[in-house]
Amino acid sequence: MTCLPASQPGQKKLGLVIDLDTCVGCQACATNCKEWNTSGMSAPLPDFNAYSAGAEGVWFNRVHSFEAGVGAAGKTVHFPRSCLHCDNAACVTVCPTGASYKRAEDGIVLVDADKCIGCQLCAWSCAYGAREFDEDAGVMKKCTLCVDRIYNENIPEAQRKPACVVTCPTGARHFGDLGDPESDVSKLVAARDGYALMPELDYQPVNRYLPPRAHVVPEQGKPVEDAPTPMDIKSGLLRWMDKVLTR
């Protein structure tokens, strides 16, 4: 059923919070995502010409780098882009077969590969480019929020998080329930002024991005020369004079 589930008060909305201040653009999240998901519920994630020119494939997570601002205020910002598990997900409602759906219990947007006819309309409808067509299997693929990890009782509890989150070496990725205002991720979003991408399209993304912190601008003015310490003065006579004159 591709109508969106009715949102209940206190609706659970699992999603990611990505800290653009600490992301270093190392691509570990994208790599571990590919690693886990190529053998997960959407497996395989195909690669074409993997060992020659024109290598490309399906990835659920792509890390862009942007330059924001100019001059002293300018920043290089690394920006991981993946499915935002929108509340008002057009990729779900446009699906003619019911293959694309949003789970009522936790808000995760998934594709049922057995029902997908590969019309690719969902990819067209996604403003964020979160869906990539598997041209080998003829079905659409997308981020599953690692639904096969987060509820997986066969792996240690500490690892029941999306692959991108557990692997991030700088702790720039956080996972939790953004529908609960008391959750750690919701508090983090509130404290750091987290925001949604492209709000003007009204897709109501669940994922939030935390902005880079403001530059600490050094105080302006003339540089002040450091006074030499007694240790810097090699001559005994000058050292004595310095001692007398400083008194």
Binding site: H64, V77, P96, I117, E135, G138
Partner: protein, 312 residues
């Protein structure tokens, strides 16, 4: 957006077929169409053949065409599903009308023909709404897109009916007049549409797509991958501006106004066979124009995902 050959052919062929069904249903019902029983059956058969060929072509775009039947299930939310349902439903009254014509039950044929015309129009409208409902593509989520699809279907249907009637030795005056009217209407509509999309504000900016506008003007620095990918090939296709302008002019003058002019010329013809010459030429130009228009519809469309890759 990448113009998919299968979809360009589908919307042109089935658009003309549905347009023809609309005119057959409405004109036969009001007695404005002077055509023999054999001629009417031939025209209905041609329309259904075009519609069916188009629908089959659309299946070529699918990754799993054998599951296409599933697309009839989500009509509550999906315009693509509604299009499928409307396309299947259209066959019923149209085949019924053809059977009634064959059997000589004319009142029934008229009623079913009108129903078929309504279904055909509804199908074209659903097709247009598939595009018009896609918010990330500003050239498609435009109020003139549904109007364009409907008017062009009616134009190409008339462009098909007029030479058919003339070749059958009948009076092609009525459909020729419709080619003239709808050709001019379509040209005005497309001109207005192009002017509108050229001056439209972007839906979103890289600053809003990344939220980095709070720091300042944003531009792409490093791409996430060095080679191409599905998104860049599918959503990143864009026709060069100078070609777009030439192709627009070709569509407008060659594909819409020239057939309209030729149809006007045919109105003064001495005999059906003389009228057939400009009308057949007009049909060929109209088909080329429709293919070009649909190709441009894709090639000129821009998607917000390219903001992340190109910054615009």
């Amino acid at each position: 957006m990448k113009p998919a050959g299968s979809i360009v052919f589908f919307t042109v062929a089935s658009g003309a077929g549905y347009g023809l069904l609309v005119w057959l249903g409405l004109l036969a019902g009001t007695g404005l169409l002077r055509i023999t029983v054999g001629g009417l059956l031939l025209a209905q058969g041609l329309a259904l053949a075009l519609v069916t060929a188009g629908l089959c072509s659309s299946l070529l775009h699918l990754g799993h065409a054998e599951r296409a039947w599933r697309a009839l299930s989500q009509w509550r939310s999906s315009w693509l599903s509604r299009e499928g349902v409307a396309a299947v439903l259209t066959y019923l009254p149209v085949l019924g009308a053809a059977a009634a014509v064959y059997a000589g039950a004319y009142p029934l044929a008229v009623a079913l023909g009108v129903m078929g015309a309504v279904c055909a129009l509804a199908t074209v409208y659903c097709t247009s709404m598939i595009y018009a409902s896609l918010k990330p593509i500003k050239e498609w989520s435009h109020p003139l897109v549904p109007a364009g699809y409907v008017v062009l279907a009616l134009f190409s249907g008339a462009a098909l009916l007029a030479p058919l009637l003339a070749l059958l030795g009948g009076d092609s005056g009525m459909p020729a007049l419709q080619v003239l009217i709808f050709g001019a209407l379509a040209a005005g509509l497309k001109w207005q549409y192009w002017r509108s999309i050229d001056t439209a504000r972007p839906l979103a900016t890289l600053e809003s797509a990344t939220g980095l506008g709070r720091i300042g003007a944003t531009k792409p620095l490093d791409p996430p991958h060095t080679q191409s990918n599905y998104l860049m090939r599918e959503m990143g296709f864009r026709v060069a501006r100078k070609h777009a302008n030439k192709l627009r002019a070709l569509t407008l003058w060659g594909g819409l106004l020239a057939p309209a002019g030729l149809a006007a010329l045919s109105l003064g013809a001495a005999s059906p066979m003389v009228a057939a010459l400009p009308l057949v030429l007009g049909l060929l130009l109209a088909v080329a124009g429709m293919l070009l228009e649909r190709w441009l519809m894709f090639a000129e469309a821009t998607h917000t995902v390219t903001l992340y890759y190109r910054g615009n």
